[in-house]
């Protein structure tokens, strides 16, 4: 009964979304106020019914309703409650439902906070968001209903063991919040293109939404990376896998968009470029969804791929991406051109930032899709791996990070960096000194690229920290926007330092040890004390006890596990990790070599925490800048920006 209710709720949600689409878009086109007024209520209804559907599926999971095909395939009577709830988004149908729930929530939030926007513009934004909702709801109902029934199964096939982990229970909701959040900037862009008008107020409305989506995406990617680090058993934090790249491309495009929006808001420049980036960010999110779902690229962790559904997503993709880009080609040239700007100014730094970020996204896109292109054109089969990405990605990124440290301090329109020369010199030398101190003296050796990477990272950290400090000492007002920017860039610096050190000085050994034997790695003595069988709620496994000493000092005792989940019977490693601010010690179990011997993977990972700390700091920076007062002012003062005033504020044509 409950599953049928859930299915019915989704049908109603579809109708609500369709209603909002029609009255939003057609109402705005025909200038019918009464029609447009329907849209906010309809998207609220859409949210209510999608939530109800989601609740019904969650209920089916919690109560072990194995007459629902999706539940029977992805749950089990022994599965703990946390993973029964997280199991809702453990495969295709449910994760699509989660995607829709998040989209509906974003849409509702936009409806709630957009009361001050011009009526037609608001109706168009809601109409576009509802159109996205309608299409994906149709996809869900026609090809992938999570409520399909079967005769009651005795027990379920269990959730993919890889997904039975707290970080992974949270990772998809965060990532989706980011993916789907790009749809808002997209809807704002399409609405602006439909109106044929775009001004600084438009950028001010769009910015906080884009930054919020970006911060969720940042957290989602960081969680995924952290999970891969301790669950996949390789001890790596990024693999350039197609699925990872699928989440990274929209991140790069969103990052570029945030910066381009800043210029559009302050100066009214880069208008059509900003629109294009908004379309790109959303397109790359959709493309990511498609790549993961359709199986057209090979990935080690595509959990929900099914080519038969791919064609449906491809059609949706073509409609939204090509449709909006054609609209762009038609309308963008009429939006008015930009005034020129000075060579040394914040906007020119941001232009370079955008070019480099888009180049980086292009590198990732090419690397990810090249095997598919080669095959499609009959050029043979290739695989593109880290050797390509690590080099090609660094080319745009190193100069980008270095420029961040300088560009942050540049003023709008015309910067006098000469006055700041001394400060940059001091900060740059301090960064280099830190690099020499840590890399050369601390780790005993350093290549040129290592020193460079560290010095640039440290320079960005120092530069980011000096900005609010300098303002505070001059007694200037420090807005949350500026503080957020500094914090986010500090995060980028920490991340750069972390990646440089972790990649250069990591030590990894695969060895075989018997009980009582030990191996010394990077000055740490790893001793295999013994192994014992362990049992979880739905798995059996072996747990090793590994004692680590540094000289005479006992550092820690780790308990890595190798688990076999009873139903799906694939082995899973659960690494034992000693976390520290300057280094992680990592032990993962490999193969049972018989006679009490095990192959073990031992790793010493210096500064690896800086990688995730850096990502979280970036997200915190995003959070701070969303809290800036000028966005709240824009949202609360009714009709603060009537159309004429907005036009007057826009730059003159020429």
């Amino acid at each position: 009964m409950i599953p049928e209710l859930g299915h019915f709720a989704l049908v109603l949600a579809f109708l609500m979304a369709l209603t909002a689409t029609f009255f939003g878009l057609v109402g705005a086109w025909r200038g019918q106020s009464a029609w447009m007024a329907v849209a906010p209520g309809a998207v609220a209804g859409q949210w209510v019914f999608v939530s109800l559907g989601f609740a019904c599926l969650t209920y089916a999971f919690i109560t072990h309703d194995f007459s629902v095909v999706y539940v029977a395939h992805n749950s089990n009577s022994q599965l703990p409650l946390l993973y029964r709830v997280a199991g809702v988004w453990g495969a295709h149908e449910g994760s699509l439902l989660l995607w829709l729930l998040i989209l509906s929530s974003w849409t509702l939030a936009v409806a709630y906070f957009s009361g001050s926007l011009p009526e037609r513009f608001r109706a168009r934004v809601l109409g576009v968001l509802a159109l996205i909702g309608t299409s994906f709801m149709a996809f869900l109902l026609w090809t992938s209903s999570p409520f399909a029934r079967q005769p009651m199964a005795a027990d379920g096939a269990d959730l993919n063991p890889l997904l039975q982990d707290p970080a992974l229970a949270l990772h998809p909701p965060m990532l989706y919040a980011g993916y789907v959040g790009t749809s808002i900037a997209f809807a704002f862009a399409v609405a602006a293109l439909l109106e044929g008008r775009l001004d600084a107020a438009w950028a001010r409305w769009t910015r906080p939404w884009t930054t919020t989506a970006w911060l969720f995406l940042t957290i989602g990617i960081a969680l995924g990376s952290w999970w891969a680090y301790y669950v996949l058993g390789w001890g790596g934090w990024w693999f350039w896998d197609a699925v990872e790249n699928a989440s990274f491309m929209p991140w790069l495009a969103s990052t570029a968009l945030i910066h381009s929006l800043a210029v559009t808001e302050k100066l009214g420049l880069f208008k059509s470029w900003t629109l294009l980036l908004a379309v790109f960010a959303f397109s790359l999110s959709l493309l990511g969804t498609f790549l993961v779902r359709s199986g057209v690229v090979v990935s080690v962790h595509a959990f929900a791929s099914d080519p038969s559904r791919g064609i449906f997503i491809l059609a949706l993709l073509a409609f939204f991406i090509i449709g909006s880009l054609i609209l762009y080609a038609w309308r963008a040239p009429t939006l008015g051109s930009d005034a020129g700007f000075a060579l040394v100014s914040r906007e020119s730094f941001l232009l370079i930032n955008n070019a480099l970020l888009v180049a980086a996204a292009g590198v990732v896109l090419i690397g990810t899709l090249m095997p598919m292109f080669m095959d499609a054109f009959g050029l043979g089969k290739i695989s593109v791996g880290p050797p390509f990405f690590n080099v090609a990605f660094l080319i745009p990124m190193l100069p980008l990070v270095a420029l961040v440290g300088v560009g942050m301090h540049a003023g709008w329109k015309q910067a006098r960096l000469g006055a700041l020369q001394n400060r940059f010199l001091t900060l740059g030398l301090a960064g280099l000194a830190l690099a020499v101190l840590v890399c050369w003296l601390g780790f005993g050796r350093a290549g040129l690229l290592t020193l460079l990477g560290f010095a640039i990272g440290a320079f960005v950290c120092l530069s980011a920290a000096s900005l609010p400090i300098a303002r505070w000492r001059r007694g200037e007002h420090l807005s949350l926007g500026v503080l957020g920017m500094s914090v986010a860039h500090l995060g980028l610096g920490l991340f750069t330092v972390g990646v440089t050190v972790a990649q250069t000085y990591k030590v990894e050994r695969d060895i075989s040890l018997g009980a009582g034997e030990s191996y010394t790695l990077a000055g740490y003595d790893f001793r295999l004390v013994g192994t014992r069988p362990v049992t979880g709620p739905n798995w059996d496994g072996v747990e090793a006890t590994v004692a680590i000493r540094e000289g005479a000092r006992e550092v820690t005792v780790l308990h890595p596990q190798k688990r076999v989940y009873r139903v799906q019977t694939n082995p899973m490693t659960q690494a034992g990790i000693a976390v520290g601010p300057t280094r992680d010690l990592f032990v993962a179990m490999g193969e049972d070599l018989g006679a009490g011997r095990w192959s073990l993977r031992l790793q010493y990972k210096p500064f690896i925490r800086f990688i995730w700390l850096g990502a979280l700091t970036m997200a915190l920076g995003g959070l701070l800048s969303v809290g800036d007062r000028r966005y709240r002012r824009a949202a609360t003062s009714k009709a603060a920006m009537p159309a004429e005033a907005a036009l007057a504020e826009g730059p003159t044509r020429g």
């Binding site: 051109s337 695989s383 880290p386 050797p387 050994r509």
Partner: protein, 200 residues
Amino acid sequence: MAEELTSPNAAGARARALVPAVLFAVLLGVCGVTLYKIQHRGLDLHEIKSPLIGRPAPVFRLPSLADPTVMVSNEAFAGRPYLVNVWGTWCGECRAEHGVLLEIARRAELPLVGLDWRDERGIAGRYLATLGNPYSVVASDDDGRVAIDWGVYGAPETFLVGADGQIKHKHVGALSIDVWERDFVPHLKAGTAAVAAVAP
């Protein structure tokens, strides 16, 4: 990026504005072709069944990883079964299967030929020096040409070549002891039995 849209080249601006749409259309077109191939032509990107199975193993002659002046060839192993393992230091799964390769080498049922694919010589040498070297010889396939001859899609891949010089089995992805015993060992036993049957 910068919009210089004065009226004389307005048409050019419009054409330029269409470029993103065209690029994405091509991209989606290729996605569609791939999808079609997966559904209707049986293209399986995950596990491409090697058309080489049951065919003679392609002969290669490549510089040795240990000493690039020395050429190594799989012809040296003709007449007995051997294993060809395609790997690279850049490949995480290869690292994951390395312990299994060491174990197979320790059992000494057959020689292992390593094909170091698109790798850096120095790093690969250090990799084997630190993790242990399961291979009888390692050929270094810098430009990946031999890997193409062998239809290698990704690393790791492992080929079993029989005493008759034919490829008996191919495994895509990391080996495990279970996979070895299930998919490879029976071929070896069958080979020995056949030889034993002919011998008397």
